[in-house]
Symmetry: D2
């Protein structure tokens, strides 16, 4: 059979032995068994398989190396060698995998243990039939936007990164003071716990907890959501994804810049954070019949 | 001097003698004096003037007919005879004027007594200098989207209309039950006080009171905001303005359809309301230096 | 065996044949079977049984009159003849039963089909064992407060009533204008869709949908929750239940006063609504081991 | 003239020379002039004056020592020597002064520069007439509750403190996991940015920004407000002030305990924070005619 994808990367949840100790061992064993099942299934179909090296290391895959044909690559290199990436894990695993392989512009699909997530379309129970449908081409690609953040300090670029969900400027303590400019126009000086700049994808994550709206992924928009703003009329706002947001730190004591929930940089007074739409997009692969609204309904218990 | 506009419509707040009785007479007299001042000013510049007929009738303009050259037209006809409309009043007056003249595709600008509104850019204090700048072409046009609503009953179209701010399905009593479909996909069955479909322009009006986000007017989006939803996770959502929203009334006791706050139709069980972006847009005229964010900051006391 | 209660009222969901037609017949039949099961169970224990007359009429109980010993009374009289009332139905049935029998000061307990409700502690699956525990005295009483509303028009009392959940002043149209006074002090003039005055019990009902807080039933408090207020800083407030709230209708077009969701009165401009804690309380009977927080956790899916 | 208070403490905003450098010098000079004006005014009335030692040091009062009779005490001792404390500054200054002198059970009144605050009743413009009215006994006392927090680690008490506004458990990073028990009953496991336990006084401060309700100061209640909770139905709840709240830290990476906005303790996994009403209360002195609702209306722009 001719398959839609000839070479596939498999990326699991990163689990060092240290964190393993904390995790429930039984759950962990099931997750590993599932990865091995997937590798065996694809191996039998003569698909070229590339396994993310930590996934291979920690799941016990290497013990079956005699039987299972695959190569191992680091997360930063794996995208060059495949034309599809399958991620096993939760939305967090999807986010970091997506950012790592975004330069390679290959489609990404997620398999979630238990119920599916906002980003992981396929339930573990349905893994093998779903993968077969994908190989048969019964799927479609949706391009999702990313945000890019730059930190400018005294006129110099001191940090640059991109986020699939959100870029967050937030204090570890209580109140921060920011000035927000959009497209070079002053918006306001804000006192709050922080500020979230979210892609449509990210609007169902942290931004939702902070009171932000849900933006449909097709919307070319960025949501700007204040966290516990001092002024009660400081409400979430959504702007065009073609806009440039600049946030100046009027006062900055232990303020962090997070991308997709990972603290990436500690900001200083006078720092300017510039947020724009990234050039790259993430090609998410969906099964036939995928409905964004059905996913929302299930995940948010609108039933 | 060559002016940017040769013929101008003037539309005031509609005030029948009945409502006049209720209004503060002093405020009313000032509003009338302001209209007369504007008419006199433009009249002296040889601009062709068309006055909305009720405005002419109730403001006492007709008493000065010997001095002030103008023609009177109904709100539905006035747009054909001019290339600019100046509205004196609040956001409510702007909304109804905009809907009335939208087929004529002429720019619209608002003058507000006291502080300016979300839609009325010019403060009364600054009326004459502002008008002169507009005549000198120191202004720009921003196209704002409208929504169109159709009510389908037993397969027949029983109502059709458009809204500049919002389309609201709402009960006069307590709880209604709706089914929402977007682009022919089922979204959810909702129990709530009602549902707001808002243009970006309307997101600073009723939708904001109901907890909706602010959408920048450049965003090609529709905000869908539930009013007091029974399910707490039923949050506001913004979708592409190219989408089609269908709302089915599962249960309907005294449910109204409002367009820009005017009740237009009483709905029945089984009715389907179809909402899409309207074909026409409203060309709003802004002064040089207009900033949407400055307006938000002032109106919402973000200072 | 000596039981804690000698005479028990049974009150079911009021179902006229008209509404029956609308309901799912199968569900209805199950509800009736359950009532008959309860009557038979209690009848065998020599408990004196009083059945609410419509419940007796519509559930088919009367067909078994030869076998099942009971008397039938109207909802307004039934409380005089018993020392416990068992309600079968949802929270709505509990609300109206509680208001009807409140003068008799007898405890009330609810049995809910399917999952239990905020007020109906006992699941249908567990009905008979639970009832036996109650008869064995393995239960406790919690007194819940009620609110009383009076409408004053031109100095005359034109309406009086009480509510277990909430008193709502609300417009069928869009915006109303109210003046609120608490303990004779002016609070504010509010423009909104309406205002909810809620007992702690009612804070998990409509007030929660409108953004109000949850008040624990032990708290001697009234929650005042604005519905879609025009001013974004108009937030819910909780005051002492010893306070007196007065709401004056500045402007009143089609404004209703609802008690526990039932429209009771149409208000006019100038009307004053006075809300205070009612003298009576509702004695809710809970099973041993009842936890308010467990109930919240289950009903609000905090799991 | 016999005055209601014979000895008065004066407590200003604490300003070390370091922070002075940051502050606007002109504002600072005005604040100092105001304190000197107050001291001179009271000194002339033969009131015994005790100045908080840093206030005396940093405001230049000591330069006038020849003319102005006063003694200087540390904030912790000053309360023993007086029967009234006047605080000049904002709500923050009031909070720390209140906590420091609470063991002495003396009334406290605040004078705010510019507009008054939630706690500082007297505007600077009206300082001297207001102080004279207070001395003439035209005032009343309102007792406000405090909260007490204890941190238990491995069965040992490792921290104890009290708060006038709020006790906050919060992460410097993103998500924390807490278990909440009230009166020894399990409430829920919560994933959020943190949790606020607020007195009624504190409900107009940080808790309001986080979406909490306003609780009237007379209400014997504690508000529990989650900060950006992961579960959207996790809403603010108000409970009796007689209740005991226990929060267990399921997972704790860089989690802080703050009292009135001051970080007091870093928490560890397994720590239990116990919050109850403190034994002491703060006697707030109000001018005749003080209205809590008027203050709310002014501060929250309900006008």
């Amino acid at each position: 059979m001719e398959t839609a994808f000839k070479s596939i990367a498999i990326i699991g949840r990163y689990m060092s032995p240290a964190s393993l100790a904390q995790a429930h061992l039984h759950t962990q064993a099931q997750a590993h068994a599932q990865i091995i099942e997937l590798v065996a299934h694809l191996s039998a179909k003569k698909i070229k398989l590339c396994i993310e090296e930590n996934t291979a290391l920690y799941t016990g895959l290497s013990e079956h190396r005699a039987l299972l044909r695959y190569e191992a690559f680091s997360i930063d290199e794996i995208g060059q060698h495949v034309d599809l990436a399958i991620v096993l894990g939760g939305d967090g695993t999807m986010l970091s995998a997506a950012r790592a392989i975004v330069p390679n512009n290959i489609p990404l699909v997620g398999i979630n243990r238990g119920r599916f997530g906002f980003l992981t379309d396929i339930s573990a129970d349905n893994m093998l039939p779903a993968v077969d449908e994908i190989l048969a081409g019964k799927c479609s690609i949706e391009r999702r936007m990313l945000l890019s953040a730059q930190v400018i300090r005294n006129g110099e670029l001191v940090f640059e990164g991109c986020a699939f969900n959100d870029i967050i400027i937030k204090s570890g303590l209580r109140l921060i003071e920011l000035e927000v400019y959009i497209d070079n126009q002053f918006v306001h000086k804000q006192r709050s716990d922080g500020l979230i700049m979210s892609t449509p994808t990210g609007t169902t994550a942290y931004a939702l907890s902070a009171g932000g709206p849900i933006l449909h992924p097709k919307l070319e928009a960025i949501a700007i959501v204040p966290i516990c703003p001092h002024t009660l009329s400081n409400r979430p706002i959504a702007i065009s994804s073609a806009s440039k947001i600049e946030v100046s730190l009027v006062q900055a004591e232990s303020i962090h810049l997070s991308l997709d929930g990972q603290i990436e940089s500690t900001l200083q007074q006078g720092d300017k954070v510039v947020i724009i739409r990234a050039e790259q997009t993430v090609p998410l692969l969906h099964m036939q019949g995928y409905s964004y609204y059905e996913m929302l309904r299930n995940k948010l218990n609108w039933g």
